[in-house]
Every structure is written in structure tokens, then in C-alpha cells.
């Protein structure tokens, strides 16, 4: 029994090799030809904009808290109209492990993964991306969500003027 198994084990690999000699190869000639990645591939991260064209990111620090390798850092600031935004936002892709936890943590759908995977470089600082390199002119995967329309504190509409809100209470009256 043992001898038969050894003989089979010796010749089977040759047979497999021989068989594949007459088939089309699965490899592609990268970089001349590029394989399209899967639809939910987790590549380079981008910051998207809401349907009104404003930055979605409110610099809530949740992505940097969720990041297991601490590659995201930012500073929040307040715009004159009360909108919270990132004064600066940095992702260090030399540390990033493309786990996508940051995009899951992002409550405003600002941070999204893209299919871009060609990040290799000899210059380390090229993969330390600042906000202007991360911010895209588009909504990304969701074209409808606008955090401030649902947040319930005004900013994009007068207070109490967003859907599902009553107008501000008059505090000078006790009438029901």
C-alpha cells in the first residue's frame, strides 16, 4: 500500500504540470494589462463629498480611534457657519493595512475605500497623504447621504428645518 502511494506521489505532480502546459495561463502581464479588482476591494482610502459638494468629513476622530495601526491623524476645527471639518487630515499609507475598519467607523460615509492599489513607491513621504490628496470631488459609493441633513442641529438648514424636525420651541410661552 505504502509503495503504491509513493509512486503516485512522485508522478502526479509531473502529470499536473504536463496538463497545464496546454492550457491558457491565468496570470496577466502586469503592468501592461491590469486585472479589474472585485467591487468591494479595499484599496487606497479617499475622503468624499456630500451631494451638495461640501466635505463629508466632520473630523470626529472615530476612524483614527478604530485604526489598529494608528495611521490616521487629524485636527477638527469649526467653520464660521458652525460646520465641523478637518483642518488637516493625514493618512500614512506606509502603515495602513487596508483593513477597512476606518470606513466602517465613519459615521458620515466620508472615508471610503477605492479600488486603487498601485501605491508602491521608493519615496516614503509620497505615501503620507494629506487632506488635499485624499479629498475627491464626488460622493463615492453613496450618492444621497448628507450627515448634516439628518444630524438634527442645523448647519445646512435653519434649526428645526431638516426633515423629521419640529420648528424650534418658543421658550417664552407655556402654552401647549
Amino acid at each position: 500500500m505504502g509503495l503504491w502511494k509513493d509512486i503516485k506521489g512522485t508522478f502526479l505532480p509531473f502529470w499536473v504540470t504536463l496538463r497545464y502546459l496546454f492550457r491558457r495561463p491565468v496570470t496577466v502581464c502586469y503592468p501592461e494589462r491590469k486585472q479589474p479588482p472585485a467591487p468591494r476591494y479595499r484599496g487606497r482610502l479617499v475622503l468624499t463629498r456630500d451631494p451638495d459638494g461640501e466635505e463629508r468629513c466632520v473630523a470626529c476622530y472615530l476612524c483614527s480611534a478604530a485604526c489598529p495601526v494608528d495611521c490616521i491623524s487629524m485636527q477638527a476645527a469649526e467653520r464660521e457657519d458652525g460646520r465641523r471639518y478637518a483642518a488637516w487630515f493625514r493618512i500614512n499609507f506606509s502603515r495602513c493595512i487596508f483593513c477597512g475598519l476606518c470606513t466602517e467607523a465613519c459615521p458620515t460615509l466620508a472615508l471610503q475605500t477605492t479600488a486603487e492599489y498601485e501605491l508602491a513607491t521608493r519615496e516614503l513621504l509620497q505615501v503620507v497623504c494629506e487632506k488635499d490628496e485624499l479629498l475627491i470631488d464626488g460622493c463615492g459609493k453613496n450618492t444621497e447621504y448628507n450627515f448634516y441633513r439628518l444630524a438634527g442641529i442645523g448647519v445646512v438648514a435653519p434649526r428645526g428645518g431638516n426633515p423629521g424636525e419640529t420648528p424650534p420651541e418658543d421658550i417664552r410661552t407655556n402654552m401647549p
Binding site: V58, A59, C60, Y61, L62, S64, A65, S73, Q75, A76, A77, E78, R84, A87, W88, F89, R90, P107, T108, L125, V128, E130, K131, F147, L150, A151, G152, I153, R159, G160, G164, E165, T166, P167, P168, E169, I171, R172, N174, P176
Partner: protein, 798 residues
């Protein structure tokens, strides 16, 4: 003492303890919003429900509203209770906005925690959410009313605990509104506590707005350095920037709250003008060069003029370890020219305070539980703001508060005010020392005697004095008076308000050492050739600035160690940057003699906000943090003494050499601290000079501390500049009429130190014949220093 069983654990608690507190003593945290240890229970949030299985009460009840009774058996986590709490959370969330990402409370929000703990994820109620307009509540507090869950904590803190009158609750049902009647800054000097008590993000710190999340902050237990009370705080820093301070709980000192000066006075650490590198002349040098220059110079002075030519000055800002090593260094150099306070009268007063028996001194806890307090020459809101809050708690329990002061002392309570002229204060104290006596020489003494008798009849009386107004002699009399007024079976405790956070420590270490007056004399005579100022600013703190500047100009070498760009730093020949309080560990001794350790919060460095000008961090690599040159003064002193810079070793050595500091080495920063074991000997005081006869056009000038703008470090904080007052002089209406002046118009204040034009304000609570000028740094009157010898002035139309 009822005994009850909570979650199968049995505990005996004092009568009157509610079930929530009893569970907390067992380490079981019952979720709650509206209950607060300092504020009590109101049963408004309905979250602290627990199930009573056996005993006088049965079923699901609010644990904060039920007092612990014998034979109670309680389950804090039964299925019914958990379902009840989940229901309450869901109700609270029906109107709560969906804005946690842009809310500063996120990460430290009780509502957020409870929502997650209660399992509420999807809002089932589909009706609209109610909204409100927000108010502008001034420079400290940001308001977002949509987030409110109606727990009433803010109103209870602001109105009941802190005595504020301009913030309250309006409306009915679920339309309750917590705010002011109209927009405007909150008037209470304790408004910052609203940030700490609000369980959600309605009231947040405006100075910390959108700066960080709590999980990114570097935090450690620390002590507030802005007055002599030593309140417990937790500073938070990120990117080399101190971003906020919040209150820490120390039941012996501040309790649960702090004042706005302490909370928002942190900005000095990040001040853009803070010197961060050693300077030789005005040239930047390395630490090695600067230390070598210092050692060479001092060696040279010792050789040429003897060790007596070297003098040293530390201050009440320096930690106990720094003060101790300064003393060791002076000893090692053989110089006895050492003192710990640039203001001679404040120095003497601190020495008097430190000569008080430790068990007779009053802690803030004693003051909160006293039944009678007499304040002589003390203005709590200006000199030690949290004392005002402690007095309010005493008054709320029915204590009698008597204020004897020439100034219009404002307290957040109704109290008995007695406007006494400055020269009357010693006579009143004299009367207080003889409460049993029947006949008195003057009406003031008789008033003092009557107060003394009232103190004798009280159960826990407290006598409080301000060292600036009383002076060392007055302080000594106050201590004597406290001794004389002790009722049988109890002691009349006393508290003296001192100049700085470690005045007491300096006074303990200074023994019979000279005062700064003696040092100045030495400089004027040319005996003293060099002065080493360790975290001291004699130019600003010595009452006669001209004399001090002239004496410092005669020196061959002025060495300054400091963390702020003070007036003395500008004149220094050799400058060493030191760390701010939050950037190093150490110990401070507060005005009751309580040693309190503090931990290092973060490492010194230029805040990223400044080094990157608000943009992203620089795109290059460097080994060290920019601006990280400051070193704790005590480590530099240890290096100069040629020993290891280890805090533990320094503390153990101090404890061994000076047994009065017993317990120092075992102190931890999160403890309640411990008092010094024994007092120092009482200093020998010369009799107070008799105040001059007032000519008809002359007034007594009282320079006093002000809540904002008087204390060095908090005055450097940018967020307190908005509430700083313009310089003014306060007069009694009688004097205004006599001198034919007009309120609100500028007047000319003429003294022996100079002349200034100030705004005139009228106050009827002031003693007639007195002009009160608050000390405000960085204004025209910055050369006027509180606590100096009594001075006369004239006031004319400008």
C-alpha cells in the same frame, strides 16, 4: 446603621444613605443621569431603577430615591430592571439628535454609554424631533439645547450649589429649556462646572471646542496652581498643547467642582511667548553651555567675593521638591541668602500660617460643614474662589457667615457684611482674642468680642483671614483669636489665604532665613553680586518695582529659571526654561498644610498648533520635539548638586531631613494628600507701623486681588482675557461726593509710587475713606501689588 443585601453582597451603611450610594460603596455602579454626590437625588431621569426583592419596599423603584433600610434585598440587574432601563433610554433618545460625530461630549458622554449599554440602536418612534434655538452663553460655555435630556443637573449645580442667578429652567413638559432668559455671558465664576455635570453634550467647554476626543488626551491627576487652595484637577493635553482642565474629586479640598479661573487658566502652558530655550544674554545656547556658564560664574563669585555674594529666590509657584533642592544648593554653595517669596509681607504671613498647629487649621471640608464662619480681611472670590463655594455650602446648611472687610466682598450667598476700615481690623481681631472680656476700649474691639462670643457658642466655628489685608501681624492675631474662640469640646479652626499654591511649603522650609527685603539691601550695598530666581518674578511681585529694578540692575549676574515670560526674565543674564506644572511631577503644600502630589501630564514642547501654524504636522523627520528644552527646575538643581534626578529620592531625603514632611514619600497623586505633621516655629515679627493720620483729602489705598487678571499664570491664559476687567478704582459714595467726582469718569490716583488715570466706580458696601484698586497685570496699574504696607493716596479729577 441599616444592613442590606445588594446583588448577594451585604453591606452596612450610615443612616440616610440611599440605595444608589450604598451600591456604589460595594463597587456596583447603578446607571444614572440626574443623581450627583454633591447635588443629591431628584429622581428625574428614571434610569437608576433597581428591583427590591425583600424588605419594606417591593418591586422596581428608583434607587436614588429610596433610603437604605434593614433587611432590604436588592437586585440591580434583574430582567425586569434591564427592560425598564432600556425603555427609559429609548424614551430619552426619541428627541436626541443624531449628531454624536460633531458633539464634543462624544467619548465621555453618559447618555452615549447608557444607550450602548441599554442596547438601543434603532429609533422605533417615527414622530418628529423637538428642536430649540441655542444661546450664546459667553466665552466659556457652548450651548446645544437639542441634546438635552432634562436631568436638571445644570440648574441644580448653577443655582443651588454655586449660587448663580442667571441660568435656569423654562417651559413645561418635554419643552423644558435650560438657559438664560436672554443671550449673554454666564455671570457665576463657577459656570465651568456645568461642563462637568452635564451628562450629555448640551453644555460643553467652548475653549476646548472641537479640539480633541477624550481617548486622545493625555491626562493625569494634578493640582490647580492658580491660588493657595490646591484644588484637584485633571488637565488634558494633546499634540504638546494643554487643551483643558476638568475637576477631580478630592473630598478634603475642592469636593467635586472647581472655579473658572482654575478651569480656564491653563493657557499659560501654551503661551506663544513662552521662552523655551536657555538664553545667555539674549543669545540662544545649549543646556550644557548655559549650565557651564552658571557654574563658572558662581564659582568665580565664591572665589572673589565669598559665598555670601550669591543669593537665591524661589517662589510659591515652585514645587516642594524644587524649593527643597534650592535650599540644598544654597547650603552646598555656603550661602544663607535664600528666601521663598519676593513679597516680604506675604512671606512673613505664610510663615505665620505655617506656624499654626496642623489640627487647628481648617480644610475646605471643615468649612463646608461649619456652622459659623467669620471672614476677616478675606475676599474669597478674588483670593481663593473655591472658598466662596465652600462657604455657600455651609450657609445652605444654616451656617452663619460674617464678613468683616473694608472692601465690598461679594459672595454667592446672603451673609452679614460689616464694612470695617483697614485700621479697625487689628482692633476687631484684638476683640476676638478676648471673647470673655466684658469691657472693651473701643467699639471695634467690642464688635470683635461679640463675634468671639458667637464663635464660642457655635459647634464647628471657622475663622478665615486674608493674609494680604491682615499682614503678618494680623495673621498672628487671627490664629490667637481662633485659639481663644475655641468652644469647649471642639476647636475653632482657622484658615489663612496665602499668595500662591506652595506658599506654605516655602514658609516651612525658610526657617529663620532672611526676607527678600534683606536680600535687596545686600544688593543695594553691593554685598550680593548675584541672584538666582527659581520660578520667581521679583520685579512684578515686590511691592516697590522701582527699588527692585534698581537693585537688580546693580547685580553682576541675574539667573532666572522660569516657565513664563515674566518681567524678571526680560532682565536675566542667564535664563533656563523650566516646565510648567502640568509638564512635570511634584508636590504642592496648600494653605492648610496639605501636601498634595501631582503627576506629569505631558512632555514639554511647542504646541503643534503653533509649530505647524494650524496646518498638518511638518513633512520631515526629526529626532526631538520642537520646543522640548524646558526641564523641571528640580532636575536641573539635582544635576547642579551632582546627584540623580529622581523624584522618589528627593522626597525620601526631604522626609528624612525634615520629619515635619512625614508621609511625603508615600503620597500618590490620586490620594487626598496628607497634612504636614508639625508646625514651624512662629516667626519673630516687628510691630506693625501705626497707620498715618488721614488728611481730609487723603484715602487709604487698598490694592486687592481680582478674580481674573491678578494671578500671574492664569492672566497669561488667552481665554480669560475676555473676562478681564479694565483698571478701575472703587470709592464709597460719601467720598465721591466729598471729592466732587463723577461715577464712570476717569480719575487720577496719586500715590507715593506713582500716578495713574483710572475709571471711577462707586460701591456702597465699601468702607468710607478707602480707595480699592484691583491688581490687574498688563494694565496701567500692574505695578501696584496687593498685600503691601498700608498706603495713602489722593484722588483727583483727571
Amino acid at each position: 446603621m441599616p444592613t442590606l443585601t445588594i446583588d448577594n453582597q451585604t453591606i452596612t451603611v450610615p443612616e440616610g444613605t440611599n440605595v444608589l450610594e450604598a451600591a456604589r460603596q460595594l463597587g456596583i455602579e447603578v446607571p444614572h443621569f440626574c443623581h450627583h454626590e454633591a447635588l443629591g437625588s431628584v429622581g428625574a431621569c428614571r434610569l437608576c431603577a433597581v428591583e427590591f426583592l425583600e424588605g419594606p419596599v417591593k418591586g422596581i423603584q428608583m434607587s436614588c430615591m429610596v433610603l437604605a433600610k434593614d433587611d432590604m434585598v436588592i437586585d440591580t440587574g434583574s430582567d425586569g430592571v434591564l427592560a425598564y432601563r432600556a425603555q427609559v433610554i429609548e424614551w430619552l433618545m426619541t428627541n436626541h439628535p443624531h449628531d454624536c460625530p460633531v458633539c464634543d461630549e462624544g467619548g465621555e458622554c453618559q447618555l452615549q454609554d447608557m444607550t450602548v449599554a441599554g442596547g438601543h440602536g434603532v429609533r422605533r418612534y417615527t414622530g418628529p424631533k423637538r428642536t430649540y434655538q441655542n444661546q450664546d452663553l459667553g466665552p466659556f460655555i457652548a450651548h446645544e439645547m437639542n441634546r438635552c435630556i432634562q436631568c436638571y443637573r445644570c440648574v441644580r449645580t448653577y443655582q443651588e450649589y454655586c449660587g448663580g442667578k442667571d441660568f435656569g429652567v423654562m417651559g413645561t413638559r418635554q419643552r423644558l429649556y435650560f438657559g438664560r432668559f436672554s443671550d449673554g455671558p454666564l455671570e457665576s465664576p463657577f459656570s465651568g462646572n456645568l461642563v462637568d455635570v452635564c451628562p450629555t453634550g448640551v453644555l460643553t467647554d467652548k475653549t476646548y471646542r472641537y479640539k480633541s476626543r477624550i481617548w486622545d488626551l493625555q491626562e493625569a491627576p494634578s493640582i490647580c496652581p492658580h491660588c493657595s487652595l490646591g484644588c484637584a484637577v485633571i488637565p488634558g493635553a494633546r499634540y504638546q498643547e494643554l487643551q483643558r482642565r476638568r475637576a477631580r474629586t478630592n473630598r478634603r479640598t475642592n469636593g467635586h467642582f472647581i472655579c473658572d479661573r482654575g478651569r480656564f487658566g491653563y493657557g499659560y502652558v501654551n503661551h506663544p511667548d513662552r521662552p523655551r530655550a536657555p538664553l545667555l544674554g539674549h543669545r540662544r545656547v545649549t543646556w550644557q553651555e548655559a549650565l557651564a556658564a552658571l557654574q563658572n560664574h558662581l564659582h568665580e563669585f565664591c572665589e572673589l567675593y565669598g559665598s555670601g555674594s550669591i543669593s537665591m529666590l524661589s517662589s510659591s509657584r515652585a514645587s516642594l521638591e524644587t524649593q527643597f533642592l534650592t535650599k540644598r544648593w544654597a547650603n552646598a554653595l555656603g550661602s544663607g541668602q535664600l528666601c521663598f517669596e519676593a513679597h516680604p509681607r506675604r512671606d512673613q504671613a505664610a510663615r505665620v500660617a505655617a506656624s499654626q498647629a496642623p489640627d487647628c487649621s481648617a480644610s475646605m471640608e471643615d468649612i463646608r460643614s461649619c456652622d459659623m464662619a467669620v471672614l476677616v480681611g478675606a475676599d474669597p472670590l478674588a483670593e481663593a474662589p473655591m472658598l466662596a463655594l465652600a462657604l455657600r455650602q455651609a450657609a445652605r446648611r444654616g451656617a452663619r457667615i460674617v464678613v468683616v472687610d473694608p472692601r465690598p466682598v461679594e459672595l454667592p450667598i446672603d451673609c452679614e457684611r460689616h464694612a470695617a476700615a483697614p485700621e479697625e481690623l487689628p482692633r476687631i481681631l484684638q476683640g476676638l482674642t478676648r471673647p470673655q472680656q466684658n469691657a472693651f476700649a473701643s467699639a471695634s474691639e467690642e464688635f470683635g468680642g461679640a463675634l468671639g462670643r458667637a464663635l464660642l457658642e457655635a459647634k464647628n466655628p471657622v475663622l478665615i483671614g486674608g493674609s494680604d489685608l491682615l499682614g503678618p501681624q494680623g495673621c498672628q492675631m487671627l490664629l490667637k483669636a481662633a485659639e481663644a474662640c475655641s468652644p469647649t469640646g471642639s476647636t475653632c479652626r482657622s484658615m489663612l489665604l496665602l499668595a500662591g499654591p506652595n506658599s506654605f511649603g516655602g514658609a516651612m522650609l525658610s526657617d529663620d532665613g532672611p526676607g527678600f527685603d534683606a536680600l535687596l539691601e545686600g544688593m543695594e550695598q553691593g554685598r550680593i553680586k548675584s541672584l538666582v530666581c527659581i520660578e520667581a518674578d521679583p520685579v512684578a511681585d515686590y511691592p516697590d518695582r522701582k527699588r527692585c529694578r534698581a537693585a537688580l540692575a546693580r547685580l553682576d549676574l541675574l539667573v532666572v529659571f522660569d516657565c513664563a515670560a515674566t518681567a524678571t526674565v526680560q532682565e536675566a543674564d542667564l535664563f533656563f526654561p523650566t516646565t510648567a506644572l502640568e509638564e512635570a511631577a511634584g508636590t504642592l503644600v496648600n494653605n492648610e498644610g496639605r501636601m498634595q502630589a501631582f503627576e506629569k501630564v505631558f512632555s514639554a514642547g511647542t504646541p503643534l498648533l503653533q509649530s505647524a501654524a494650524g496646518d498638518h504636522p511638518p513633512r520631515f523627520f526629526s529626532r526631538d520635539i520642537p520646543g522640548s528644552h524646558p526641564q523641571p527646575a528640580w532636575t536641573t538643581l539635582a544635576r547642579l548638586l551632582g546627584r540623580d534626578a529622581e523624584l522618589e529620592k528627593v522626597r525620601r531625603e526631604l522626609e528624612k531631613i525634615d520629619p515635619r514632611f512625614d508621609g511625603l514619600a508615600g503620597l500618590t497623586a490620586d490620594s487626598e494628600g496628607c497634612r504636614v505633621v508639625a508646625p514651624r516655629q512662629a516667626p519673630a515679627l516687628v510691630a506693625a507701623p501705626a497707620s498715618g493720620v488721614t488728611a481730609s483729602d487723603q484715602l487709604h489705598l487698598l490694592v486687592t486681588e481680582h478674580l481674573y487678571g491678578s494671578e500671574l499664570l492664569s492672566d497669561l491664559s488667552p481665554c480669560l482675557q475676555a473676562v478681564k476687567s479694565d483698571p478701575y478704582v472703587w470709592l464709597h459714595p460719601q467720598d465721591v461726593a466729598r471729592l466732587k467726582l463723577v461715577e464712570g469718569k476717569p480719575v487720577r490716583l496719586c500715590t507715593s509710587l506713582g500716578e495713574w488715570t483710572l475709571e471711577l466706580r462707586i460701591n456702597g458696601d465699601i468702607s468710607p475713606g478707602v480707595a480699592v484698586v484691583p491688581r490687574l497685570r498688563g494694565t496701567v496699574v500692574e505695578t501696584l501689588v496687593p498685600g503691601s504696607e498700608p498706603m495713602l493716596c489722593r484722588i483727583e479729577k483727571a
